[in-house]
């Protein structure tokens, strides 16, 4: 089975940002993304999704290396200062390279 290497970019941030980030992702050439609700704790305190304003989301984007870097640096520049946000990039293998 032949596989191709791609990047998995995972962003964990405040759910208030969802609409804005989705627009950014479309503009930055992400072919797709998956969003799930999340909760946890970080430098900005416990975010336990008890109600709307304290919810987190996790966005996963599978893309090529350039797109991942572009998205990561755009997010870092625009959101790191004011929002609870972390992101990390991992190498993954995909089977259908044309999708990503």
């Amino acid at each position: 089975m032949h596989s191709h290497t791609r990047k998995l970019l995972t962003v964990i941030t405040e759910s208030a940002l969802e609409g804005t980030l989705v627009r950014d992702l479309d503009r930055l050439n992400a072919h797709g993304y998956t969003i799930t609700d999340a909760r946890g704790k970080g430098s900005r305190g416990v975010r336990d999704a008890g109600w709307e304003a304290s919810g987190n989301i996790r966005i996963e984007i599978v893309c090529d290396s350039e797109t991942a870097t572009a998205i990561a640096s755009y997010f870092r520049e625009h959101y790191y200062d004011d929002y609870a946000m972390i992101l990390f990039i991992s190498d993954i293998d995909v089977l259908r390279s044309e999708k990503f």
Partner: protein, 314 residues
Amino acid sequence: MIDPIILFFLLGAVAGLLRSELRLPAAVYEFVSIILLLAIGLKGGVELAKQPFASLLPHMLAVVAMGFLLTLVAFPVLRYLGRFTRADAASIAAHYGSVSVGTFAVVVAYLGSRQIAFEEHMPLLLVMLEVPAILVGIVLARGLSRKTRWRSVAHEVFLGKGIVLLLGGLLIGWVAGPEGLKPIEPLFFDLFKGFLAVFLLEMGLITAKQLGSLRLYGPFLIAFGIGMPLFSALVGVGLGWILGLSVGGTAVLATLAASASYIAVPAAMRISVPEANPTLSLSAALGITFPFNVLLGIPIYYALAEWAHTFERG
């Protein structure tokens, strides 16, 4: 006699303070708040059908003006007495200029259980009062900067869950009329207080969580969280009196003025004024003002409204 729905709120608060495992699933909270918003809208809509829209226009404009005023009064107090940054002061001011639907529901239940009538177009005024403070808050934080993306702000403000459901309920109630609503009345009207009780249980839990962060921000925020609603209630009573509302209506308007938003405004501020610390405004609005209004404020505002009307009669 203390209203049982208040006891639900206290139960939630105590359970939260004792770090109980109790937790409402997010979907349940969401569902309950949707029902409450729709019920409030439907009830107002039915009554709207009975009176000409033009006669309500002065009330709507007056309430919008009150929203601007309250935000503009709160801002300098926070900025200069409280020494908050400009963004924080503007954001907190916007929370206090806007309204809380939860508090509105409690005052409706309070008056209902005492069989005190109030003007039924209050839900319309609730919608009107939600928006102006957000706009003033953004302008206070930013100035009229070109960088503000007004389109996305407008989207956030006017298409938020609260406004859509309230306005939608108003329209449905208006179109359907009292007869048309009969079949769905059991869910929205008969069960209203039950839903409100569950809602307040969750609000108690949320309130208890805010108390930790309050300790961090000190006495000014606590004083503001109690002082500001008392001041706003006076403005509300005055306005209700000028507009010629009944005692019940004046009490509702005072409560609307006194309540602080914790859903629409936080979401809009988070997007439009991201440098403002959301913990500050939320712990004030949820940790102090909401419980203050629910437990003590509403009876006080009702007493004020009664006093204003007795005074008027001499």
